[in-house]
């Protein structure tokens, strides 16, 4: 019998919204609502399984980390050392700070129990009795709702000791960040959680060996953990029936920029940009020249048919020279100056550089951002583009953590695809598209 066709489009009748099913519904964040819609059934089911079974199920589902790097979640869980009596941690990275990404926000705000349930399942799978949710400081409403949800779950016995009479103890610690993008990097997040300066740590040792307080730790994204709930509920086959070969399941895509209906759309992996932009988001509101496929750190691509028909999965976007990242699609209108737009991103990364390593601190935060400022203000000189390219060469792959490389994504790709705009700006002292001021000032 021929295997059924993979679901790669939201239009496929077999596709059903799962993670975002309850987002936007009134009182969806309460426990009673959640229980009324099948809440905590997955956890109950999971706690009757062996931890290894859960890990195998997640491995079989093909779920890859939704935080950007795309590391298989099940494999990550299996890296935890054997249980040796030490405290183990499952940390949920809810420090969603990448420009263009806002998928976790609505789970935190409208469906916090889904996350708690995912955390509970993950904690059981890796033998961690403490879950940590490191939530972005600016997500105040999410924090409030989550706090309430944790209290409710504790009261109802979904958190605490001997959950579902299984003998498994689990509790959740909420920790608010203080507004640093670098805390989305897992080791910096751990430092920040411990009360230290948010600098990335040296790897190895990886978190599984020595994470929070030097103890075995696994770190997952909010969406990864939310997906686990549905994998347990519906089975690995359901999950892997969606998506493409290297990218299984459904994913939350975000779209922002000049479109009719910006927002978060849950789609199976492998759906095309065209489907997201035109069918779901209602199409652009003005002419578009560039598309950032997966959050601000991914290299931008020209907005053309070739790229619009690219399936949004890990492999396909990589072949086009970019990355899926968090799936935060940003559209850049034609009439906006690309240099100005890139400056905006570079400023962001310069502001968020933690200062630990030289290339990022001095190269990006100390220099690159000033060159862009100089270009945008119309003081560009011949040779500046080459200087940026040379600097990018000397920064890429040499910094301590991926933040510096993340900044180079838009820098290098914008020069690659829109060199003409840079040259025009340098030559004429004003941008090719003059309507660009509103974005930068």
């Amino acid at each position: 019998m021929e295997a059924p066709q993979q679901i790669t489009s939201r239009k496929d009748p077999r596709f059903k919204v799962s993670m975002y099913e309850h987002v936007g519904v009134k009182n969806s964040w309460t426990l009673s609502y959640y229980l009324g819609h099948g809440g905590y059934q997955a956890a109950q089911k999971a706690l009757t399984m062996q931890p290894s079974e859960i890990i195998n199920e997640v491995k079989a589902s093909g779920l890859r980390g939704r935080g950007g790097a795309g590391f298989p979640t099940g494999v990550k869980w299996s890296f935890m050392p054997p249980v040796d009596g030490r405290q183990r941690f499952l940390v949920c990275n809810a420090d969603e700070s990448e420009p263009g990404s806002f998928k976790d926000r609505y789970i935190l705000e409208d469906d916090p129990h889904q996350l708690i349930e995912g955390l509970l399942i993950g904690g059981y799978a890796i033998g961690a009795s403490k879950g940590v949710i490191y939530i972005r400081g600016e997500y105040y409403q999410g924090y409030q709702r989550l706090k309430q949800a944790v209290a409710e779950a504790r009261q109802a016995g979904y958190l605490g000791s001997n959950i579902f009479e299984s003998g498994f103890d689990f509790d959740v610690i909420l920790h608010r960040g203080a507004g640093a993008y670098i805390c989305g990097e897992e080791t910096a997040l751990m430092n920040s959680f411990e009360g230290l300066r948010a600098n990335p740590r040296l790897k190895p040792p990886f978190p599984a060996q020595a994470g929070v307080y030097g103890l075995p730790t696994t770190i997952n994204n909010v969406t990864s953990l939310a997906s686990v709930v549905h994998i347990i509920n519906n089975g690995a086959d359901w999950f892997s029936s969606m998506g493409t070969d290297d990218s299984k399941g459904n994913k939350l895509y975000q779209i922002s920029g000049s479109v009719e209906r910006p927002g978060v759309y849950e789609m199976p992996m492998g759906a095309s940009f065209r489907e997201l932009i035109y069918d779901l988001a209602g199409g652009p509101t003005m002419a578009i020249k560039a598309i950032i496929p997966g959050g601000s750190s991914t290299p931008m691509l020209p907005f053309d048919d070739e790229h619009l028909d690219t399936p949004m999965d890990y492999g396909s976007i990589a072949t086009k020279g970019s990355m899926l990242g968090t799936g935060g699609v940003i559209l850049i209108p034609t009439e906006k100056c690309i240099v100005n737009a890139t400056w905006n991103l570079v400023r962001f990364y310069a502001h968020e550089s933690c200062g630990k390593c030289t290339p990022c601190r001095e190269g990006i935060a100390g220099w690159m951002v000033k060159i862009y400022q100089k270009l945008v203000k119309g003081f560009g000189q011949e040779g500046d583009i080459e200087l940026i390219e040379d600097m990018a060469d000397k920064i890429r792959g040499k910094a301590f953590c991926p933040l510096a490389d993340a900044c180079l994504g838009p820098v290098q790709s914008s020069i690659e695809h829109f060199r003409g705009e840079y040259e025009y700006l340098i030559k004429n002292g004003k941008p090719m598209y003059s309507k660009s001021d509103w974005w930068s000032e």
């Binding site: 200062g355 630990k356 030289t358 601190r361 190269g363 920064i395």
Partner: protein, 816 residues
């Protein structure tokens, strides 16, 4: 493991870092953040190298073979790797010479210099700056950065001793890591983030005894020694490697002098003793040497007034006087930090004068040479159970650091062809410490207790009881009773745990200081305890060469000739070197009666007031010689070029005296003393290596003539050893500004009872010595006890002082 660095193949131990492989192969990469004895963090990204390794096939376990060469195929990492944080692998290939690597290094230098102010001409680090050197070696020679540099505070005084220039900082994090990793005092961190981040501290000052070290290893001129600020350029200094004589450890130091002044002291490396670190007392306590009031010419009292003279005249004067006296009537007192050579000279002089009245001071009741297995400092650093009796952080600060090294559970690094490994991958940032191995017992809460797993604050004076009950339990001669343990401020469980830990350990060490040495009974008990539990012993003597002078027997021929007796009239003539014995009013009375008082000292003091002849003495930084430190290690002293007039060490004094007596005494020069010592020790001290020579472990205690027990078993005032040399503090302006005058520390409850407030100056008499101190209330001191810094003339002891005798100085003046 086989590693190939460029064209050199070498065999290294697993766990070595790639940067050490590169240096071991004789190649070089630039680095700023790596630092010996500290954790590698890979922050500066300078040491980038192209690194690759062969891979094993996952299924077959065989090396994947390159088909063209038939050799294992090398898989290079996609990015250049920071070699300081990369561990070597079997067959690893490291390339540091390719254009790719050079370009990356050049780029990184350019980035590092982007916000560096390049004020090299005015920077005290200029000429000894790692950034300067590396920019010269690896940089492109010019920058493409055309914007304004970052502007931050240029002279931020972190403390009175250290100035921070925030513009110059290149964020290598060495200083931040140092404080957490080495002394364990977390006083510095980065503030702000990104390009705005800077080094800072929340509180004022740097509350640590080891702050100066950060100025040594700061790769740029961001952290500078305030005492030598703008005093000279690095190439103008004469660098003299010597040993510090401020305590019994004998740390290696580099004395930087210019135009006859000591401008600064830096730590030098002795892997056996102090690694790379020295304490602030040793580093900043040199300013007195260049004080204007330094004695530089011999003085002879004529018509009641000291008049300048020459050594020959002074020697003749002394000789005349001595000729009138009989044998055995002259006393010689050396300070306990005199060198071995000076000891030889003193002994030769005593023999010439046929007197047995020869002694060194300060000297405590018990021998500083432990009878038992002697511990070295490296034994301490590798120990798995340590018992500390006393306040080592003040007595011998480096011992404190070596204990903290042991807490990390990492043995001292093995030396590589290029020396200490630059990146020891076993060390990590914020390592967990095995505090449980350390037990600290002291009569008051001392600094090291913060790091100890078990602490014990026993009532002062109960050392003997504490050790006796431990010994009894260790020998199985009786349980420790609840009551006895209570009396000692402990519990039977704690003491039993301690014994179990000591006897169960592989390399237990007991460290004891002045409080135990002051009572011979306690000292005997600690030696017996060590024997019972199989522990090694480290005794901290009162001064730098206490061990050596005792081993050399610079001691009286009879107990009635000890220092105390000499100062009470047993001698008719006295030669006193380096001690202000007349501080003691009673001694001063006896000194006035002397036929002849010769004082050999660097500064005028109460004793020179009474002296017939005053001879200018060299300080510890100007002497050539040898001292033996607390572990029995012979350490070399080298003279720094200091303008000291006609100052001579004791050897010089003996030379001039001998010449007038018409004889050539042994020890008339360092060379002559060493000839004698060579015969006796089978050791040529003039060829002593920089790391010194550890004497054979079975050195015997020579102290058969005890002093009067200075440590009474009851008292309320404890004279404590301190890192700072209080006798010179008034001439060490910078240290004085940080540490203030000698403090009388007492419990706030006692202070309230006596109506004493912080900062009150009190004057009182203590065993005949007038003391003045500033009141400091401290919770660390138990109720009913007062702490006062000891002086060379008044070493550690437990005394009685009626609290009512503490008279505020202002009141005392009025009364006077």
């Amino acid at each position: 493991m086989k590693v190939k660095v460029n064209d050199a193949e070498l065999e290294l131990k697993a766990g070595t870092s790639a940067i050490d492989a590169i240096f071991a192969a004789g190649y070089d990469v630039p680095y700023f953040c790596s630092q010996e004895y500290m954790s590698p963090i890979g922050a500066c990204r300078m040491c980038l190298a192209k690194i690759g390794a062969p891979r094993k096939d996952r299924d077959s376990g065989e090396w994947i073979i390159d088909e063209q060469t038939g050799e294992p195929k090398i898989f290079f990492f996609p990015n250049l790797m920071a070699s300081c944080t990369t561990a070597i692998m079997e067959g690893m290939v490291i390339d540091t010479l390719s254009k790719e690597v050079k370009d990356a290094q050049n780029g990184m230098i350019e980035f590092t210099l982007v916000n560096h102010p390049l004020d090299c001409p005015t920077c005290d680090k200029g000429g000894a700056c790692e950034l300067q050197d590396r920019a010269y070696e690896y940089g492109a020679g010019q920058s493409r950065f055309v914007f304004d540099k970052r502007h931050q505070e240029k002279h931020h005084a972190l403390s009175e001793l250290i100035t921070l220039d925030r513009e110059r900082c290149i964020h290598c994090k060495r200083c931040v890591r140092y404080f957490e990793e080495i002394p364990g005092d977390e006083v510095l961190d980065f503030i702000e983030r990104g390009v705005h981040s800077y080094i800072g501290t929340l509180e004022d000052g740097l509350p640590s005894n080891f702050t100066g070290n950060i100025t040594d290893f700061c790769p740029v001129g961001a952290l500078l020694d305030s005492t030598s600020r703008f005093r000279g350029r690095n190439w103008e200094y004469d660098h003299t490697r010597s040993s510090c004589l401020d305590c019994a450890v004998g740390c290696a130091i580099t004395i930087d002098a210019r135009t006859g002044r000591i401008e600064r002291i830096k730590a030098a490396r002795n892997t056996q003793v102090n690694n790379d670190w020295i304490c602030d007392g040793g580093r900043f306590g040199h300013e007195y040497v260049d004080a204007d009031e330094r004695l530089k010419t011999p003085l002879i009292r004529r018509d009641g007034k000291l008049t300048p003279s020459t050594w020959e005249e002074a020697a003749a004067f002394i000789n005349d006087k001595l000729a009138d006296l009989g044998a055995k009537e002259t006393g010689i007192i050396l300070r306990a930090d005199a060198t071995l050579e000076e000891g030889v000279a003193a002994k030769a002089l005593a023999a010439q004068l046929e007197t047995g009245q020869l002694d060194h001071f300060p000297r405590l009741a018990a021998s500083v040479i432990p009878q038992g297995v002697r511990a070295t400092l490296n034994d301490v650093a590798t120990s798995d159970a340590i018992l500390v009796l006393g306040d080592v952080s003040e007595e011998a600060p480096i011992v404190d650091l070596r204990i903290k090294e042991a807490l990390k559970g990492v043995t001292p690094p093995e030396l590589m062809p290029h020396g200490v490994p630059l990146a020891d991958l076993r060390l990590k940032e914020r390592m967990p410490r095995q505090r449980e191995i350390l037990t600290v017992a002291s009569p008051y809460r001392c600094d090291l207790m913060k790091h100890a797993g078990s602490t014990l604050t026993y009532p002062a004076g109960t050392e003997v009881e504490l050790l006796a009950s431990l010994l009894q339990a260790a020998n199985g001669e009786g349980e420790i009773s609840e009551e006895a343990a209570m009396r000692l401020g402990s519990s039977p469980e704690q003491l039993n745990d301690l014994l179990k830990r000591l006897s169960g350990a592989k390399n237990p060490v007991i460290i004891y200081g002045a409080f135990v040495l002051a009572a011979s009974e306690a000292s005997n008990a600690v030696q017996a305890l060590a024997k019972a539990v199989g522990a090694k012993l480290l005794a901290i003597g009162p001064m730098a060469n206490s061990y050596g002078l005792e081993a050399l027997a610079v001691l009286p021929s009879h107990a009635r000739y000890s220092v105390q007796e000499m100062l009470r009239g047993s001698a008719k003539a006295l030669i006193v070197s380096g001690l202000d014995v007349a501080k003691d009013a009673e001694a001063a009375k006896a000194l006035k009666e002397l036929e002849l008082l010769v004082v050999h000292d660097s500064f005028a003091n109460a004793t020179t007031e009474l002296a017939h002849v005053v001879l200018p003495a060299k300080t510890a930084y100007e002497k050539e010689g040898t001292v033996v430190n607390l572990e029995g290690r012979y350490l070399p002293l080298k003279p720094a070029p200091v303008e000291n007039g006609q100052s001579e060490d004791f050897c010089g004094l003996v030379k001039f005296l001998g010449e007038t007596m018409g004889t050539r005494l042994e020890g008339r020069s360092v060379r002559s003393a060493r000839r004698l010592l060579k015969k006796r020790l089978q050791l040529d001290l003039s060829e002593l290596s920089e790391e010194g020579y550890l004497s054979p472990a079975k050195a015997k205690a020579a102290s058969k003539f005890k002093l009067k027990e200075s440590y009474e078993l009851e008292g309320n005032l404890l004279l404590t050893p301190s890192m700072i040399r209080h006798e010179q503090l008034s001439r060490n302006a910078h240290l004085h500004a940080v540490y203030g005058d000698a403090a009388l520390r007492l419990n706030p409850a006692d202070a309230v009872a006596q109506d004493l407030n912080d900062g009150d100056v009190v004057a009182f008499e203590l065993q005949g010595i007038e003391r003045q101190a500033v009141i400091k209330r401290s919770e660390a001191v138990p109720v009913g006890l007062m702490l006062l810094p000891a002086l060379p003339e008044q070493p550690a002891a437990l005394l009685w002082l009626e609290p009512t005798k503490l008279i505020k100085a202002a009141v005392a003046e009025v009364l006077a």
